[in-house]
């Protein structure tokens, strides 16, 4: 490993090294993210790294089960790189199955991207692979396995890349907050369970009692209308998360809420929190009661700082947030799951042993027809179409066409497709929508329209063509795809090297999907086609249609997929092939 740079030493002296400590609750004696000292995350820095993928017993729920780990820790060690350096990472696989590491959000040659079957052959059991590439960017990123469902079993970790020039965002304290969802279940069994009974975790469906209460409060007519709409679609408005706290234990830096990972600060110091959502299937809503969150970066890229009280983070997104606690008191960093079924937390504390109150999770939200783009059908639309088998004649379109009269057209491949259980009729970008469960909650919540890249893309050409892709699925069968076609049956999306395209994503499901393109940036546009923010993962809520511009400046075969791990596994994935 290379010697630390001088600037690194200075940073260390300034107290910027990653660190933290847990309260001595005595409940959980096995430190999960602890190689060097209890609960201090391991930071590996330099330009040469040796990582070992292995199986390590962990005890998160009270039961000892094997996790997939990097260098024996869950999550894996923080890798700290420097922009411009060429890093070499030798990854050894001691599992009895093929494995891989993908560097999420990094621009690199295709054979370093770590996707078995696209970038390379994967790392065979007992084998190794030398990743070697130049680091072209700075900020907060993460790494994870891209082999089957290994990410769910714990194979993930943070990446921090220090900028070449002194970091204008340098703070007195700098911590990674890696959120994740853990289950003792073998992930393959979890996936199989979704295929057998996809509503397994939905223990909050509306009951007879709810019907009576709604009828009393809102009137029988309105209640019947509402039940009728959902019944006709064969769906449930409580379906906010495929997998929730019934199965998952939510973790921050590998710690449960009870374990309370703690980050220290001195009052008045500025604390940079690098939030990474490494969860397989969970959106988190994050806030720190008593503190304003200044969001300074999204997906590793600097944005114009924006003050909020809360933000939603989709799986695979990262947000860098700066806070400045002035009181000599503890603060709870509270991250509740989008469906409100559970939460995790860490504590910002002036000393070990102090903690603040934990907020109660918010009220469980219900999906509405508006949420699914069914609220305001265009005059011509007539009726909602759910179950793509019905009434789609004459609505087929070429990709790239614009919808006529406000009514969304759909690709022919969605018609009578068993893997398409609904279609949105009047989707909109809704970039200024805080999202379900966050509207009018009395807090200033981050919205995508708040994300303004500090720097415009080099390439500001108008896209030469539009690739429209519909996010599709069947909740009941638990099958997923784009345009009703799953990855296994789909041809690659071909881009010509150097071309600039617009990818328009239309969500034809009732779930939110974070869509991630490897190897190239996704430049998010607003509804007028103006550049907003450069991201690697773009959340597409139900009933929305969002566009990104992509410059095909990376030759090779790249994965393009939903970052809900079970959706990707279920088919919501494509190969994007950039050719000369």
């Amino acid at each position: 490993m290379g010697a630390p740079h001088d600037s690194d030493r200075r940073r260390l002296l300034r107290g910027m090294a990653m660190g933290g400590a847990t309260l001595g609750l005595g409940l959980w004696q096995r430190p999960l993210w602890a190689l060097t000292a209890p609960d201090q995350p391991t930071v590996l820095r330099g330009d040469a790294f040796d990582l070992t993928i292995g199986r390590t017993p962990v005890n998160i729920t009270g039961r000892t089960v094997p996790a997939f780990t990097v260098n024996g820790s869950l999550p894996g060690p923080i890798l700290r790189w420097r922009e411009g350096d060429t890093v070499g990472i030798r990854v050894r696989n001691t599992l009895d199955e093929t494995s891989s590491i993908h560097w999420h959000g990094l621009l690199l040659p295709a054979n370093m991207d770590g996707v078995p079957g696209m970038s390379f052959d994967g790392i065979a059991p007992g084998g190794d692979y030398l990743y070697r590439f130049q680091v072209k960017q700075s900020g907060t990123y993460w790494y994870h396995s891209h082999s089957s469902l290994q990410e769910q079993a714990g194979l993930l970790g943070p990446i921090i890349i220090d900028p070449r020039e002194p970091d204008p965002l340098a703070c007195e304290r700098d911590y990674v907050v890696l959120l994740s969802d853990w289950t003792d279940l073998d992930p393959a069994r979890l996936f199989a369970r979704m295929k057998k009974r996809s509503d397994y975790d939905n223990l909050h469906k509306r009951t007879v009692g709810d019907f009576l209460r709604d009828a009393r409060e809102r009137g029988l007519r309105a209640t019947l209308d509402d039940r009728n709409a959902w019944g006709a679609m064969r769906m449930s408005p409580t379906d906010l998360a495929d997998v929730n706290s019934h199965t998952y234990t939510f973790l921050a830096n590998g710690h449960t809420a009870a374990q309370n990972w703690t980050a220290l600060f001195a009052p008045g110091e500025r604390v940079r929190l690098r939030f990474i959502n490494g969860a397989a299937m969970t959106f988190f809503d994050v806030r720190i009661p008593g503190l304003t969150l200044t969001v300074v970066a999204a997906d590793g890229q600097s944005i114009q700082p924006v003050d909020v009280e809360e933000f939603r983070i989709a799986p695979a997104e990262t947000f860098d947030v700066i806070v400045q606690p002035r009181d000599d008191a503890a603060y709870t960093v509270f991250a509740q799951a989008m469906d409100r079924s559970g939460y995790t937390r860490i504590t910002l504390a002036p000393r070990i042993g102090t903690q603040a109150a934990i907020p109660a999770p918010d009220k469980r939200p219900l999906l509405t027809m508006d949420d699914m783009g069914h609220g305001h059908p265009a005059p011509a639309a007539g009726e909602i179409t759910c179950g793509a088998a019905m009434g789609m004649t004459g609505m087929n379109m070429d990709h790239g066409g614009h919808d006529a009269g406000g009514m969304q057209a759909h690709p022919a491949s969605e018609t009578r497709n068993p893997d398409v259980d609904m279609q949105t009729m009047s989707p909109a970008p809704r970039l200024d929508d805080p999202g379900i469960g966050l509207r009018d909650n009395g807090r200033r919540v981050l919205r995508y329209t708040d994300l303004r890249s500090l720097h415009a893309p080099d390439d500001d050409r108008e896209p030469s063509r539009i690739i429209e892709l519909h996010l599709t699925g069947n909740m009941e069968r638990f099958t997923w795809g784009f345009d009703g076609i799953r990855f296994a049956d789909a041809a690659p999306i071909r881009l010509k090297y150097g071309e600039r395209v617009r990818i328009t994503l239309v969500n034809d499901t009732m779930m939110e999907h974070p869509i991630h393109l490897h190897g190239m940036w996704s430049d998010v546009e607003d509804e007028h086609g103006r550049f907003l923010v450069r991201k690697h993962t773009v959340a597409v809520p139900p009933g929305t249609k969002r566009s990104v511009r992509v410059t095909a400046d990376a030759l090779g075969r790249w994965a393009f997929h939903c970052h809900m791990l079970l959706h990707m596994e279920g088919g919501m994935m494509r190969e994007v092939r950039v050719e000369e």
């Binding site: 040659p109 295709a110 054979n111 078995p116 079957g117 970038s119 390379f120 052959d121 072209k136 089957s148 204008p168 393959a188 199989a192 295929k195 057998k196 009974r197 223990l203 009951t207 007879v208 019944g231 006709a232 500025r270 304003t292 200044t294 114009q304 003050d307 700066i322 806070v323 400045q324 002035r326 497709n417 068993p418 893997d419 500090l454 720097h455 415009a456 893309p457 080099d458 390439d459 050409r461 069947n474 009941e476 069968r477 099958t479 990855f487 296994a488 150097g498 600039r500 607003d526 103006r530 550049f531 923010v533 410059t551 400046d553 030759l555 090779g556 075969r557 994965a559 990707m568 000369e580």
Partner: protein, 282 residues
């Protein structure tokens, strides 16, 4: 406090923007929400003007790295899955054991189904076993085709079967199958179930079933036309999703010639009684 946090960053943002403009050849602002240019432009091969963007020139090394020779294809797909489910596995009031269950193995686009229904009472067993190939018809319905074997009272019967099963609007679970047997025999069987959530674990399940026969089958005590109907109401508690004990009440009626056959054999044409059982799957 907010101002304190923000001040250095805004200063930086301003400085970065100012500095960047020196690299930026295009005087006019790009048509973007963020007005700053890319500070990394200088790191790139060419800091071209915005409108004349060119991707980096490619070398043979780039080409080799982009398309390495691969031995394997990406494995995200559609693994072999299976499920076994006992919808009814119960003891009736008159001490019979009754069951209805199914199992499947296969992939998203095609599964082998086994279905069985039957009753063992006073040492006599009547049962049916079906083996069917099922594939999705649309989002909600599967079409199935295969064979069925009936055992029990009288000679065994074999059938060819074709049917549908799925979820009707309002989440009614429906199963309907047409059968064709030797000697011109035919049969139609349909079943509808619904789940009423008293709570998310305490579930009341009404169920109705009807059997129609194309012609008399005296050897098995069956008459043409509507031969049997039954209705059940079961209240189960899902201790786990996979494991739910229940109690219920079952009404069954034999009709027409089928009822006559029953009466002649000293059996009642109408049957009512409590049941207690277990619903499970794995």
């Amino acid at each position: 406090m907010r101002a304190l946090v923000l001040a250095p960053m805004l200063l930086w943002a301003g400085a970065a923007a100012a500095q960047d403009h020196s690299h930026h050849h295009a005087p006019e602002a790009p048509p973007t929400a963020a007005q700053e240019a890319d500070p990394h432009a200088a790191h790139r091969a060419q800091a071209a003007t915005a409108s004349a963007y060119r991707p980096p020139a490619l070398t043979d090394a780039d080409r080799a790295a982009a398309f390495p020779f691969l031995h394997v294809a990406h494995d995200h797909g559609d693994p072999l899955m299976w499920m076994v489910q006992a919808d009814r596995f119960e003891r009736t009031q008159d001490d019979a054991l009754a069951w209805e269950g199914k199992a499947w193995i296969g992939h998203d686009r095609g599964r082998l189904w086994l279905r069985s229904e039957g009753e063992r009472a006073h040492g006599k067993t009547e049962s049916s076993l079906e083996a069917l190939w099922g594939k999705p018809l649309d989002a909600w319905w599967d079409v199935l085709a295969g064979v069925r074997h009936d055992d029990g009272d009288g000679p065994a019967r074999d059938w060819l079967a074709v049917g549908v099963q799925g979820l009707a609007p309002y989440k009614f679970e429906v199963q309907a199958t047409a059968y064709l047997g030797s000697g011109g025999r035919s049969m139609l069987q349909a079943e509808v179930e619904y789940e009423l959530l008293l709570t998310n674990r305490l579930i009341l399940q009404p169920r109705i079933e009807a059997v129609l026969n194309g012609r008399d089958d005296d050897a098995r005590g069956i008459g043409a036309g509507l031969s049997e109907t039954s209705a059940g109401l079961r209240l189960r508690y899902e201790v786990r999703r996979e494991f739910a004990p229940y109690v219920g009440y079952e009404w069954s009626n034999r009709h027409g010639r089928t009822a006559e056959h029953a009466r002649n054999a000293g059996e009642a044409a109408r049957d009512r009684g409590w049941v207690a059982g277990l619903r499970f799957w794995f």
